[in-house]
C-alpha cells in the first residue's frame, strides 16, 4: 500500500531527510504538472491532477514534525488528536498555562523582545521534543510515549504560532 512516505521514497520513520523530501516532491510536481497533460486523455489528465493534489497534502504533512508524528501514529491506528482524551501530564499543563500567561503579559506590554525570547524558549522545547520523538518512534517504538510527546509538541507549536501572530500585530 502506498502512503506518504513511500510516495516520496522515504523510509517510514520520524527522522527524515528534508532535502530528499523536497527533491522528491518537486519531482512529482513537475512530472504531474498540468502543462504536460494538455493533449493527454481526460483519464490521464485526471490521474495526474490527483497525484499532484496528493503530493501537496503529503508534502505539507511530512514537512511539519508534529503533523509527521501524527501521520506516523495514524498509520498505527492511533489518533493523537482524539478530542475525548483530555488527560495530560499536570506538570506539562501547568507549564503550558505559564507560557500562555507570559505570552499575554508580553502582548499587553507590546514587548517584542519578551515575545521573541519566549518564542526562542519554546522553539528549543520543540526541538528537544522532536529528539524524543525520534527516539520513541524510530528506536524504542513506544507508541504510547510517542503519542504523549506528539500531543505536547502540538500544544507548543500552537503557542509559537500565537506568539508570532502577536509579534506581527505589534509590528
Amino acid at each position: 500500500m502506498q502512503n506518504y512516505f513511500s510516495l516520496f521514497q522515504l523510509p517510514q520513520q520520524f527522522a527524515i531527510d528534508l532535502k530528499q523530501l523536497e527533491t522528491s516532491y518537486r519531482g512529482i510536481q513537475s512530472a504531474s504538472h498540468p502543462d504536460r497533460f494538455v493533449s493527454a486523455a481526460p483519464a490521464e489528465r485526471l490521474q495526474s491532477m490527483q497525484l499532484a493534489t496528493t503530493a501537496n497534502e503529503a508534502y505539507a504533512t511530512l514537512k511539519t514534525p508534529a503533523r509527521r508524528a501524527c501521520y506516523l501514529l495514524s498509520l498505527h491506528d492511533i489518533n493523537a488528536l482524539n478530542e475525548s482524551n483530555t488527560a495530560m501530564s499536570m506538570d506539562f499543563l501547568m507549564q503550558q498555562m505559564e507560557w500562555r500567561e507570559a505570552l499575554d503579559d508580553a502582548k499587553q506590554a507590546k514587548n517584542i523582545n519578551q515575545l521573541e525570547a519566549l518564542a526562542k524558549l519554546l522553539q528549543s522545547e520543540a526541538k528537544s521534543l522532536q529528539a524524543e520523538l525520534t527516539d520513541q518512534l524510530d528506536e524504542k517504538k513506544d507508541l504510547s510515549a510517542a503519542t504523549d510527546i506528539t500531543r505536547k509538541l502540538i500544544f507548543i507549536d500552537k503557542v509559537i504560532t500565537d506568539i508570532h501572530q502577536a509579534i506581527e500585530q505589534i509590528e
Partner: protein, 131 residues
C-alpha cells in the same frame, strides 16, 4: 461561525476567573488540555466538611466556547455536592450554551476538568483520613 448569546455573555463577562489556594486541603484542582486546539483549562473547587462546593474558580486559555463552558460550570458547581458535580454531563453544558457540533469538545473539556478536580479533592480527603 456565530456564537450563541450565552457563549458571548460568558466570554465577555466570565464568572469566577482566578485561582484558589492549591495547598488548601479543602481545595481540589483539575487540569485538562485539548491539543487539537491548544486549549488548557484549570478548574479549582473549595469543598467544605459537608462535601458541598463553596467556591469555584477557573482559568482557561482557548476559544470562546471553552471559556464559556468553564465559566458556566463554575456557576453550576457552587452549592452542589461533589457527587452532584461529578454527575454533570458535557451534553448539559453544550445544551445550555447551544454549542455547535464542532465545539462540543469544549464542553467535554469542562466535564473532564470537573471530574479531575473532584478526583483531586477525594484523593486529598482520603490522604487526610489515613494520616
Amino acid at each position: 461561525m456565530a456564537y450563541s448569546d450565552k457563549v458571548l455573555d460568558h466570554y465577555e463577562n466570565p464568572r469566577n476567573v482566578g485561582s484558589l489556594d492549591k495547598n488548601d486541603p479543602q481545595v481540589g484542582t483539575g487540569m485538562v488540555g485539548a491539543p487539537a486546539c491548544g486549549d488548557v483549562m484549570k478548574l479549582m473547587i473549595k469543598v467544605n466538611d459537608d462535601g458541598i462546593i463553596e467556591d469555584a474558580k477557573f482559568k482557561t486559555y482557548g476559544c470562546g466556547s471553552a471559556i464559556a463552558s468553564s465559566s458556566l460550570v463554575t456557576e453550576w458547581l457552587k452549592g452542589r455536592t461533589i457527587d452532584e458535580a461529578y454527575a454533570i454531563k458535557n451534553s448539559e453544558i453544550a445544551e445550555e450554551l447551544a454549542l455547535p457540533p464542532v465545539k462540543i469538545h469544549c464542553s467535554v473539556l469542562a466535564e473532564d476538568a470537573i471530574k479531575a478536580a473532584v478526583a483531586d479533592i477525594k484523593a486529598k480527603q482520603s490522604a487526610k483520613v489515613e494520616a
